[in-house]
């Protein structure tokens, strides 16, 4: 598989660079990544709170989507219970780090420890569900996980001591080695840093860690086993892949990703509310990975960014957009409706025209460019898409 990937990449290199020896044409890739990385690091110095919050929501969504993509995209298991694990991470952190003297139950643990334990807790919850996750396949698992959403919503609304009920509970501030990520202003290079500026870097570190870990898993032996299960579970079993164990394991990893995403979301929200963690949220995560590209880490990040930022940006700039009307002026569509149409349309478009999602866009474009050149130089068959489950 990795040989194949290397070959694909060799084939996709622009012909000019391909002629001049290995490595010399690669300078573009690290430079682009470097520029993106620097921009991400510099954002808190330039962007207003709106954009930082939006970006942080996208980062949290990206972490959750990577987890779901490992489960659904790479292993072919449908889960509608992602919102449950997000809620578990968010509320788990609140309970573990919460003020013991506050209105809701809190254990008062150090916040950093609470983050780790909250993620482990969602992992345990995923583990408890894994006997089911290991046995059921594809859509059947989706139906089973639906139960988690309803149980979760019931508990969130009614376990007042634990969750604060309908109005939710306050999220304790993150504190890492004495540095508190609160709203207090500290001035860095002339720019005042408040909660979102500080959290931005936490989000970046967590997202980077999650991306690297997921790539490590997907590109290694476990990733190949997962893809084998997705493509043909009997063949995978015959080749010695313990199918049920793998399915259970991926479910646990995916729920831990959701848990971490939930913690980050809670830190951004500053108050967790049960209405957020509904079935709609699970569906949004599925939309993210389909739009972004099933089975690819970059795709999950792209899809999460698209789905989580679209409604916010549309609403903010509704005055300037055609067809979209500012709230309350009547006629046309409200921005919230338009964003639903937009990513509904994006899901359909991705399924019909771009089976690999946004992540395949550059490759598809390059393939088209090459197809215009004289035949004979064409690389490997990029129409065949290994990353889409049957």
């Amino acid at each position: 598989m990795s040989d194949l990937l290397t070959k694909v990449r060799e084939g996709l290199r622009p012909p000019a660079a391909a002629g001049s020896g290995a490595g010399s044409g690669r300078w573009l890739v690290p430079v682009v990544w470097l520029a993106i990385g620097l921009a991400l690091l510099a954002f808190p110095f330039y962007l207003e709170t709106f954009w930082l919050r939006t970006g942080l929501l996208a980062m949290a969504a990206a972490i959750g989507a990577i987890g779901l993509n490992m489960l659904s995209g790479s292993t072919g298991q449908l889960s509608l219970g992602h919102a449950f694990f997000l809620a578990m991470g968010a509320y788990g952190y609140c309970v573990l780090a919460g003020d013991p003297d506050g209105p809701a139950t809190g254990l008062g643990l150090p916040p950093l420890l609470a983050v780790v334990l909250a993620v482990l807790l969602t992992g345990v919850a995923g583990g408890l569900f894994s006997p089911i996750a290991g046995r059921l396949r594809g859509a059947y698992l989706g139906i089973a996980t639906l139960a988690l959403i309803f149980i979760g919503q019931h508990v969130l609304f009614n376990a007042h001591d634990l969750t604060g009920g309908f109005n939710g509970r306050v999220v304790p501030r993150l504190e890492v080695f004495g540095f508190v990520f609160d709203a207090e202003r500290i001035v860095v290079a002339g720019v005042p840093f408040q909660a979102m500026e500080k959290l931005w870097y936490v989000g970046l570190v967590l997202l980077l860690g999650c991306v690297l870990f997921a790539r490590g898993v997907l590109r290694g032996r476990p990733g190949r086993a997962m893809n084998a299960i997705r493509d043909h579970q009997i063949a995978a079993g015959v080749m010695g892949v313990p199918v049920a164990r793998y399915r259970g394991m991926v479910f646990v990893i995916s729920s831990m990703y959701a848990g971490l995403a939930g913690v980050l979301l809670a830190l951004v929200f500053e108050r967790t509310v049960p209405t957020y963690f509904s079935i709609v949220l699970s569906l949004e995560y599925l939309a993210m990975i389909v739009i972004g590209g099933l089975g690819s880490v970059g795709g999950a990040v792209l899809g999460a960014t698209f789905v989580s930022m679209t409604p916010l940006i549309l609403t903010r700039y509704s005055e300037a957009l055609p067809l979209v009307t500012a709230p309350g002026t009547g006629g046309g569509f409200a921005p919230g409706e338009v964003s639903r149409f937009l990513y509904g349309g994006a899901v359909v478009a991705a399924v019909l025209f771009l089976p690999g999602g946004l992540a395949r866009l550059p490759a598809a474009w390059r393939a088209r460019q090459r197809a215009r050149r004289p035949a004979g130089e064409a690389g490997p068959d990029t129409q065949r898409n290994e990353e889409v489950p049957r």
Binding site: P30, A42, F45, Y46, T49, T315, G328
Partner: protein, 429 residues
């Protein structure tokens, strides 16, 4: 290939980071004078005498924020409230504005979503003097720290007691607990409910229904009634099971702290089952559209609504003028309680701005102080409000309304505004 890529940028990253950091000197976010956190006061407008201004106040405009929901659970309410506010802003600007400035209403639809509500609050907060509308009590509660720290005055479109206690968050009228107590008082005095009877209470899970239930349980304990609670979810629309259970328990009245659809279902099922008991809903349990459904005959029977102000269909001058102006401005829109709530909130906010202007302090502190002065505010909708005590609702008064197919907005007054003795004695703490 990995090894090559890895080695390359290490030094470059460090160097470029340093460059990026020095570049931030040009950032628009950088502070000029290091005078951080003063809340932006100190700009003075040359209007003869010195007027202190703050965020949201320019030379010609005063910007007010509105965080609404026009796509999700509260879409109907949000649309009415927002249009009511836009109508008031238009009228006020036509009449010369406030403090020689035009009002500008910036509306954001947060779709009742935690991510969007907080984000739009964060977006608008630095540029507005306050919020004349904030739908969604959980999100108001989430923003409470920031509201208190930045002294941003907010009028929340919610009537739940959980938001009481901040001098910057205001709600207009009674909270649901008091409203329910008044409703029970009405049932005892006018509908023959007496000690020893039991009443059914169909309520939403969540702060609206649970707050109402608190009121019902308090009133029941005081006068010797039994409350039979039926918790429902906003997605439950068929109330057959609940009403059947209440009928089996032999209730003498039903209180509905839910949405219009649930109220209509309760009334319809009760009528069909021959359960002839009076039904009272909170103000959110009615929408004029219901009178065009097959539940209409049941609703026109023994069905009442407790509300914090006169209905828009009243023939008093303020509601009648508003109804006429609103219909002229938005011919297709529905006249409901949201119009009164929105228009009233904007009028109240503007009143506070005028007070702040007269005091020469159009900063956020000035607006908050002006709100504190409004201890007998009457906007012509039948209730006198007191905004000087953060721990108490602005009024304890309720009107009892009755559906009427002929009236604009579908409601007419059944019992004039009153405060029950029970409500006076309700402990707040």
């Amino acid at each position: 290939m990995n090894s090559k890529r890895r080695g390359l940028p290490a030094v470059a990253v460090a160097a470029a980071t340093a460059v990026a950091l020095t570049l931030t000197a040009c950032s628009g976010k950088a502070e000029d004078d290091g005078g951080g956190g003063s809340g932006g006061s100190g700009d003075t407008a040359s209007e003869g005498d010195e007027l202190v201004t703050g965020p949201g106040v320019g030379d010609d405009t005063i910007t007010v924020g509105a965080l609404t929901d026009m796509t999700a659970a509260y879409a109907t309410l949000g649309a009415s409230v927002t249009q009511g506010q836009q109508l008031y802003v238009k009228e006020a600007n036509a009449a010369g504005g406030v403090c020689e400035r035009d009002l500008e209403l910036v509306v954001r639809d947060h779709a009742y979503d935690a991510g969007q509500a907080g984000t739009f609050y964060a977006e608008l907060e630095p540029d507005v003097i306050g919020f004349s509308q904030f739908i969604g009590s959980p999100y108001v509660a989430a923003a409470k720290d920031s509201i208190d720290a930045n002294q941003t005055t907010v009028i929340a479109q919610a009537w739940t007691a959980s938001l009481l206690g901040s001098e910057y968050i205001h709600m207009i009228g009674t909270t649901y607990d008091i409203e329910t107590i008044n409703a029970i008082d009405f049932l005892m005095n006018e509908k023959g409910l007496s000690e020893g009877d039991s009443i059914g209470h169909v309520y939403f899970e969540g702060d609206y229904g649970e707050n109402a239930l608190e009121g019902a349980e308090y009133a029941a304990e005081q006068v010797g009634l039994t409350v039979v609670g039926q918790a429902i979810k906003p997605t439950d629309e068929d109330m057959t099971a609940q009403v059947t259970a209440l009928a089996r328990d032999g209730v003498s009245a039903i209180i509905v702290s839910a949405g219009p659809r649930q109220a209509a279902s309760v009334a319809g099922v009760a009528a069909a089952a021959g359960l002839g008991v009076p039904i009272v809903g909170n103000n959110s349990a009615f929408a004029p559209q219901l009178l065009a459904t097959e539940a209409a005959p049941a609703l026109l029977g023994e069905f009442y609504i407790a509300a914090p102000s006169l209905p828009i269909g009243s023939d008093e001058s303020a509601p009648a003028t508003l109804a006429e102006a609103y219909t002229a401005e938005f011919p297709d829109a529905v006249l409901d309680m949201g119009v009164v709530a929105g228009y009233g909130a904007m009028e109240l906010f503007t009143e506070a701005l005028r007070g702040a202007c007269d005091a020469g302090d159009l900063s956020r502190e000035g607006v908050a102080a002006a709100f504190g002065e409004l201890n007998a505010y009457d906007n012509g909708f039948g209730v006198v409000n007191d905004f000087s005590a953060p721990d108490a609702p602005s009024s304890l008064e309720s009107y009892i309304l009755k559906p009427d197919a002929e009236a604009p907005g579908g409601l007419v007054v059944e019992a004039e505004g009153f405060v029950s003795d029970l409500a006076e004695g309700f402990p707040r703490g």
